[in-house]
């Protein structure tokens, strides 16, 4: 029998009073894969993670972690957890805390080696509250993996990290994956999800709005962009384009053409430009970025 998936969530609902944080969420995270939960603030990412970690009850649906109920104590040594912040006593010294976490496991990683790997060796005797935000994040990540878990939950692992520390974290996640560890992480960063994840689950309003491998989400579709004077009438261009194409000005002075972007479409657009005396600046053809997909799915308004 094949091992059950790292995580299997079906129809998950979580309410806090009248607020519905998670509304009918369904997705699966495969064994040995990195799955990124991507979504705006308040999308229900942390609630979902905390349910998987066995911290929270939920109102409906089923959740299986490595095939078990998330509250099953048998999961504790098998699952590593990195909360979004805190969880370490302010007076605890970094090295001391990591050794304590290691002592709960029979075959832990060497705390000293892990500290060195994450650039924390010189801070081993520094109390947690005196570490920088980035150092606290890295210690927290170290604590999540020191027990050599099968599955790790990382809640915004690179929030507040400088580019070097962010890179070091990415490398470690990639190494975990290579070693056969399953990873579920939440993030706001598109590039992080695109770079690290085998599978991206985009959530908004407590629901999955899209999921797939990064390349599946961005698709093979190309788009054509250029800048020109504001307020060009696009009707004539639209008529000239093949069916299923779209053209719009967004934002002002920036034009976007989507559809079967090929040599002919490019010729059509430039012919239209020539006919209207338009000099298209910065004309380029590119793949849709994950950010385009994300904003398209989740909208552009700011979230609380």
């Amino acid at each position: 029998m094949a091992a059950p998936p790292a995580l299997e969530i079906t129809g998950l609902v979580k309410r806090y009073g009248r607020t519905t944080a998670v509304a009918d969420l369904t997705f699966t995270a495969g064994r040995g894969e990195v799955t990124a939960l991507l979504g705006p603030n308040g999308a229900g990412k942390t609630s979902t993670l905390e349910i998987c970690e066995g911290y929270r009850d939920f109102d409906a649906g089923t959740v299986r972690v490595l095939g078990l109920d998330p509250r099953d104590r048998a999961l504790r040594p098998r699952v590593g957890v990195m909360p979004q912040s805190g969880g370490v006593p302010g007076t605890a010294k970094a090295g001391e805390f990591l050794r304590l976490m290691a002592s709960f496991h029979a075959h832990p990683l060497s705390p000293a080696a892990l500290m060195e790997r994450l650039g924390l060796t010189e801070h081993a005797r520094t109390p947690y509250r005196r570490l920088s935000g980035g150092q606290q994040q890295r210690l927290s990540l170290a604590a999540a993996i020191v027990g050599r878990p099968e599955l790790v939950f990382l809640d915004e692992p690179t929030a507040g990290l400088d580019p070097q520390a962010r890179r070091a974290t990415w490398d470690l996640v990639a190494e975990l994956r290579a070693a056969g560890v399953s990873v579920l992480l939440t993030t706001h960063f598109m590039d992080e999800a695109e770079h690290l994840a085998d599978r991206i689950v985009i959530v908004d309003g407590g629901r999955v709005v899209a999921q797939g491998a990064p390349a599946e989400l961005t698709g093979a579709e190309h788009q054509l962009r250029f800048r020109a004077r504001a307020g060009l009438g696009l009707d004539e261009l639209l008529n000239a384009l093949p069916d299923g194409s779209a053209a719009k000005e967004s934002p002002t002075g920036h034009y976007l053409v989507e559809g079967e972007v090929g040599p002919e479409l490019l010729a059509t657009v430039t012919a239209w430009c020539a006919a209207h005396g338009v000099l298209a600046e910065d004309l380029r053809i590119e793949r849709r970025s994950l950010e385009d997909v994300f904003l398209e799915l989740t909208g552009r308004e700011l979230r609380g």
Partner: protein, 255 residues
Amino acid sequence: MTVMDLSPRPVAAPLARMVAAQTSYELKAMLRNGEQLLLTLIIPVMLLTVFSLTSLLDLGEGARVDFLTPGVLALAVMSTAFTGQAIGTGFERRYGVLKRLGATPLPRSGLILAKTLTVVLVELLQAVVIIGVAFALGWNPSGHFAGAVLAVLLGTAAFSGFGLLMAGTLRAEATLAAANLVYLLLLVLGGVVFPLSKFPAAFAAVLELLPISALSGALRAVLADGVALPGAELAVLAVWAVAGLALAARFFRWE
């Protein structure tokens, strides 16, 4: 760059090792904390020394140190099991430490056991220091130590129960304020250094029902008066212990 074998090998350590590690961590944290040491050692030793060597307080018949030592021992138990534990656990809860420990293989029962062991070990340290100072001041105890140990255990259970109840229900700042206020009130009203006989009789009868009065009364009955088993005081302590632990078990919130 260090190469590490990150491949999964998830096995929990044996429970005894987890509890030992957590206890040793908590002990270090407690002994490192300056405010905590002030409460657990400095204030009790100071009260014992100052009031033994001066006649600032009217302590009735007998050697002053014989009256003071049992009260100060009771105060030491309260400071560790109640005040220290309430404040420490309250902030652990506030900073998500309890929540995080909940995700480790250390079970909650193991955490509670480690906290209890820590309290008992700190109390032992306090007892050694306070009794040493008391002997130096000419303390002359009598009675069976077994009765005193029983009183201390019941007192520890009662104070731990209420300390954890406070830590697990109030905000950390509220716990900090309330635990210190209760400490101060019970220090003054609980027969620790001021004899209850100095209060009006009706008021004293009520004060005798406080856990600190019951503990200092029981210790004084054994160590100063040579009573084998101070039944009334032990019964009062037992009621507080059951009530405190039951309420903590019912209402404690881990986050």
